[in-house]
Structures are given as C-alpha cells and as structure tokens.
C-alpha cells in the first residue's frame, strides 16, 4: 500500500519531520503524527534522505517512471535566515520534501537580496551564510550559488572566493545592475577564471507596475551584450518563465549562442519549453524551478521533446556545465 502514511513512515524520521508543514494542514489520522513548529530542527538527523520516490504513484497522463528521471534543479532558493539561532527551517524542509516527491537529485540554491536593496557586503555575506548552512545540513541535496552585489567591488570578488572555498559551484546576480554595466565585468571575469556558471535574474517586463519596482532587471538582449563581451562565460538567463514576456526573451537570444536559459518560474505556459528548444537548441535549455517545483517538473514532462532532449534538459546539460569547473 502506497499512501501518505506508509510513504512518510518508510521515508525515515527526516522526511517525516520535514513534512511538518504539510502534516499541520492535513488530517491528523492520515499522518499519524504532527510536527510542532520548529521542532524539526532538533529532530532531523544529518543522514541522507531515504528516498521513496519510486514507490509514489506515477499518476495519469505523465511518462511512466517520471519521478525517477534524473533531475538537477539549476535555479532554486533558500530565502530565510536559517543560520540564525532558533530559526524556523520549515521552508527548507518543504524544499527537500518537494525534491523527494519529484525525484530532483540536487537543488542549486542561492539567497539573493531582493526588493531593490543595494546590499552592502556584510548583508551579502549573511545571505550566502544562509546557503552554506543549508548545504551543511543537506549536503546530498543542496548545492550553492554565491549571491553577489557587483557594486561591492573587490569585496564582491573576495566573497566569490570565500563561497567557492566553502563548496559553492556558481555565482548568482540579481537586479542591482544591468548585466552590461561595467560593475558586472569583474564578476564575469572571475567566473571565467573558475569556469563556473553565472546565473542572472532576468525579465522583459511589460507590466509598468512591475517594471517600476525593478528597473535594473536585465532582459535577454542585455544578457546577449555581456555574452558578446565574454563569449567564454557560462551565462544562464534565469527563469524564462519567471514573469515577463518569455516570447520576447527567447527571440532576443537567437543571436547569443553562448547564453543558456533555465526553465524556472511560476508561469507554466504551453509552449514555452518547446519554443526554447526549437529556437535556441535543446542543449541551451536547463531544467530549473525557482520554487515552482511541481509546475517546473510538469512542463518539461509534457513539452514536445524527444527522450534524449528531455533527459538533457532535466540533467545532462547542467551536469556538463558543472563538469567544466576548474577544481
């Protein structure tokens, strides 16, 4: 019998506690337990998750065995200061639980400072400490992207080194500067030096209200300008479905052959993935969710792709990027 009770029981204490948020909102007799808020931090062992992914229902209308397809989520986040004493880790447990359900092997996480903040270096370090804490807690599941605010100058470069030394695998930029701004160039050069990916927040925003809130967000043409200056840079345009006109974004990348796109974002529209593949080539497309995890997996599963294209997008393309890193 594969139901919620047995899934949780056989997934071990870690996952049982990790779904505390879910348990709190589900019939108690179905879970047979309820995790008190914050209790998970004290209860979770450090051991690897005993995944029961293959025992979960496949569902109707989805490829057989889809939960077991190898997947790397190239763009995700931990946005809470979990490194603080007494912090609530529930959002991280929810992230791990969702990855388990969906068969995502690794989550590549960052914590950008949003809301128009021109973050000072201390705040940037604290944000990256969040990710380091998550990596330490879930070393088999969470990998880190180092958030950088380019305006911090040499301190930003030092922060990249600190994060890489601690095991992070890439750099994440948000919308403090357009990516063709000179402040970004040293960051790009440092990424090239280490052969690590540079993941950038992106959008072509057509809604005036949203645009006014983040005027420095880079669109695909601005990604193209950075890529043209640094053709050897492994540059990833973040969340093609993260808001903004994705059709515009794809067309804007046609003359920028060195820019990858990740598929994340809350928009689940048909046929965004197919159009990325047709117009950019599937090798430039990377699976990611940016916290929209069920939709993120689902749209790849029902996109018009060959099995090889699907496997490359879910796993192979990003794995190949990671293998380019200089050790």
């Amino acid at each position: 019998m594969h139901n919620r009770r047995t899934f949780l029981a056989t997934s071990g204490a870690m996952l049982g506690a990790a779904i505390g948020g879910l348990a709190a909102h589900a019939p108690k007799n179905a879970f047979g337990q309820s995790a008190a808020k914050n209790a998970g931090a004290a209860q979770l062992p450090e051991s690897k998750v005993n995944s029961q992914t293959s025992s979960l229902p496949n569902g109707t209308g989805l490829p057989t065995g889809w939960r077991g397809f190898r997947k790397l989520d190239a763009h995700n986040h931990v946005m809470q200061a979990i490194q603080s004493p007494g912090a609530d880790w529930t959002p991280v447990y929810n992230l791990i639980e969702a990855a388990e359900f969906l068969g995502i092997e690794k989550l590549y996480c960052s914590r950008p400072l949003t809301g128009g903040v021109m973050a000072e270096i201390d705040a940037v370090r604290a944000a990256n400490d969040t990710i380091l804490a998550a990596m330490q807690r879930f070393p088999d599941k969470i990998e880190g992207f180092c958030f950088i605010q380019p305006g911090n100058g040499p301190a930003a470069l030092d922060e990249i080194e600190r994060c890489l030394d601690a095991g992070m695998v890439g750099v994440k930029l948000y919308n403090q500067f357009k990516y063709n701004h000179p402040a970004v160039f040293p960051i790009a050069e440092r990424c090239i030096q280490h052969q690590i990916p540079l993941l950038g927040h992106s959008a072509y925003l057509t809604d005036p209200k949203t645009l006014a809130a983040q005027p420095q967000t880079s669109n695909s043409l601005e990604f193209g300008l950075l890529s043209k200056r640094y053709p050897e840079l492994i540059l990833i345009l973040g969340h093609i479905n993260g808001g903004g006109d994705w059709e515009w974004a794809i067309k804007g990348l046609k003359d920028s052959p060195n820019v990858y796109v990740d598929t994340s974002g809350s928009v689940q529209e048909d046929d965004a993935i197919g159009r990325c593949v047709r117009e950019l080539g599937h090798k430039r497309v990377l699976f990611a969710t940016d916290l929209s995890m069920e939709g993120g997996v689902g749209k790849i599963l029902s996109a018009d792709l060959t099995e090889q294209q699907r496997d490359d997008i879910f796993y192979g393309n990003f794995q190949a990027i990671l293998e380019r890193r200089r050790k």
Partner: protein, 275 residues
Amino acid sequence: MTPESITPEIIFDMSAYLGPYPFRRLSSTTAAARIEQMDAHGIDYALVSSLPAVFYRDAQQGDEQLFTEVADHQNRLLPVATVNPKYVGWQHDLEQALKTPRLTALALWPEHHGYRLNDEHGQAALRAAAEHRLPVVLTQRLEDRRQRHHWDQANDLTVASLTEAAAVDPKLKFVLRNWVGLSGGAIRDAGLTNRCLIDFSRLQVLMTKDVPKLIETLGPQPIAYGSHTPFDYYGPSLVKLANLQALYPQDYSKFAWQNAARFFELELTPAAKTS
C-alpha cells in the same frame, strides 16, 4: 489497496478554453485539437468556455462559435456560456444558451467586460445565474500580468469580490479557475464551502501547501482537477494530481472527477479515448 486500484478511471478537467486568444498564439484552439490533447493526457471530460466571448464586444457571438464547435463532441466537452451583462440583449442570449445541450455553467468576466460583480450589471448576472441554477465560473486571471500585452488591462479578481458575489443569493455556486491566494477561512466564512469548486492549476500541493491548507479548512469536496489549457501545459496540473494521489489516496477520485460530477450533477463514465 495497490497503486493501480486507486488510479481513477476518469479525469474531469474543470478549466479549459476553446478559440483563439488575441495576445498570444495557443497550441490548440479547436474542439478536435482539444480532444486530441485530452486523449494524449488521459483526460476524459473538459468544461470548456469560449475565449472569443471574453474579447468580442458581443460575447454571444463567441458562444455561438463555441456551441457549434462542441456540438459534435458533446460526449467529451461540456460547454460554458458567457454573458456580458452590460451588453444589450444579454438576458435573451442567456435564454438561448440554456437550450444548448449539456450547458453546464455560466462564465462572467467582469474585468474584461467592464463591470464589477457588486454593481448593477454584476448583480443582475448573478441573480440570473441563481434563477437558472447555473454555477458561475470566475477565472482569476488568464495570464500573468508581468507579460501581458499593453491592451490587456484586466486585473486579477479578488477574494473580496468573490465573497461579495456569494452574498447575492445563497443558491449561487461558483467555479473558481486559475486562482491563487484563496483563504479557506474566507471561503468558509462566506458560506461557500459547499458552493464552490476550486481547481489547483495555479496552487501548489507541495512547498506552500496551498491545496492541503484548503483541504484542512474546507474538506476535500471543493477541490477538483483543472488544467488551464490551452494556456498552460497539462503536465503541471497532472503532477499535482499525482502528488494528491500520493498524499490523499482515499480522496483521489474526488479530486480527479467525483467532486466535479457531484458539483455539476453529472453522471460520468470513463470516456472512450483514441489513444
């Protein structure tokens, strides 16, 4: 119980559209194409409304196209009428629509048609729906505002507008498509627990637990499968349905079709699919 034995024989999609959309090319707009997509994804039935009826000045012209399209597919597609209560003759249009075989619900688009659910036009439409015992379909949004065409000025519908509409007549029932931000408490307090059907096309089962939170407050009966196709891929909603199957095996058939069948008072059997 094995996983196979809890796999439902039917999936009812409460959230689908026919016809072109003015601001973006959609991959399938005809009834035949919709059936083909449904077959490919294991969907038995779909509640369909007209997209042109949202954008034509005279919504009834869009409905005529819809009713013609579904006439040969009544065994799979259940039509939803659309009225614009600011347009002349809408009451007559509704009377005509009521003659359509298997007419299942009435869609209102206050943001697109330029009225509010609590003004005289909205109130009149709601009262007409109650009189004819037609569930009212309210779609919170068609598209994410961050990508919309500059002619698209429609705001998202709000929970407050829904609860105000619910107060017009206690007989009114609501079909809520493509919503987020629904509070189970607000729905319960508005007396809508047994008067609404909510699709989870834009809600999350995992992570933010939107659907489990609603189930905790309202029980499983208001929750139903909806795809928001052809705007969205089928995959996201089917993944969520599979996750509900893992978490609530005893209620899975309710989410997949039984809640919708009960809500719309339909007798459903598995549809004959071509693949």
